[in-house]
């Protein structure tokens, strides 16, 4: 099976790659040796952030190299790294109060609500909304809206107010998880039960069975929910 080759531009040089390639597979096809700007290739690590423009469209778009399928005449550049200020702190010494943003990321308050960050986000997150939530001191909202952020950096690269959205969100999520989120009491309880040896006997019994016996036990297990 042969695939059609389509033209794309990498750092403004024209190449032909198989239709249906992603930016990363296109680069690999062409023989580029990727040392930066590539990672898990599963859309999770945020290393392969790229900027591109489509034919006939003035809009600048952002996407992950491993997830973005190339189009004919697409112009591509990789942004493997975005310089960003990173606050150094001890989480135990912080309070869940909006003043931590004033202290560690004061540029946050330069936000112009222009939505440029939201438009470029490859994860399609509501970036401006969580930045505004941080301005309002609403840690829970920041945590919920930024949950899928993979720290690719494109928002910060484009921001006219030079905010580092992903680091602000990281701080908010850490505070939320440590101080504000409801603790799972069931987990704590189960851990106590295990430590007290409640499951020791049953576990030892299972370990002593042969594979045949284990299989039997498995198929005869009690299923206490309805599968329809």
């Amino acid at each position: 099976m042969t695939q059609d080759l389509i033209p794309i531009y990498i750092y403004s040089r024209k190449y032909y790659v198989p239709e249906g390639s992603t930016i990363i597979t296109a680069l690999e096809y062409l023989g580029f040796k990727l040392k930066k700007g590539v990672g898990c290739k599963e859309g999770f690590c945020g290393a392969c952030a790229s900027l591109y423009r489509l034919k006939g469209d003035y809009k600048l778009k952002g996407g992950l190299g491993c997830q973005t399928v190339v189009q004919p005449e697409m112009q591509i550049v990789q942004i493997p790294f975005v310089p960003a200020p990173k606050a150094i702190y001890k989480i135990e010494e912080l309070q869940p109060d909006s003043e931590i943003f004033v202290r560690y990321y004061p540029e946050l308050y330069r936000c112009l609500s222009c939505n440029t960050c939201t438009k470029i986000c490859p994860q399609e997150l509501q970036v401006m909304d969580f930045v505004q939530a941080a301005v309002r001191g609403d840690f829970e909202q920041v945590a919920n809206l930024s949950f899928d952020c993979i720290m690719c950096g494109l928002c910060s690269a484009r921001c006219p107010a030079e905010i580092t959205q992903f680091n602000v969100a990281m701080l908010a999520r850490r505070i939320y998880g440590k101080y504000l989120m409801k603790k799972s009491t069931f987990l704590e309880q189960r851990l106590k039960e295990i430590e007290s040896g409640k499951y020791e006997e049953g576990y030892r019994e299972l370990m002593s069975l042969s594979q045949e016996e284990l299989k039997n036990r498995y198929f005869q297990r009690e299923i206490d929910f309805q599968i329809t």
Partner: protein, 140 residues
Amino acid sequence: MNERFLRIKRIVLGPRNREFSKKVEELSGETVNLCEQCGTCSGSCPMVGEMDITPSFMMRMVQLGEEEVLESKTFWICASCYTCSVRCPRGIDPAKVAEALRQIKLRAALDFLDISKITEEEAKTLPQIALVAALRKFTG
């Protein structure tokens, strides 16, 4: 207070002066030549004590197109209280002229406020409104 500016004995107006004056007029939307130097704005300004030149003098320098006005501290001390705006007998808005001068500096990436100088103590008490406003006025 303004000896540095008083040293200007002979003023020669050239095309560059006119350019600067026009630029400030465009940015602010104010016809600076209407200013008759009555001094009402200076008299009304609550911040005038800390300024190196008065608001009237600032307007004069803009009228004459003296770019040296950009070295003054005056328009940075402005608190945008608009007292001058409501009292000017000729209906000019000196607050807008001050903003235009700030923007000329800020657009050349010459910020007035260094955010890193905000102390930990200040970060605890400063309300958002103060920080947002200061960042809008003093950073570009």
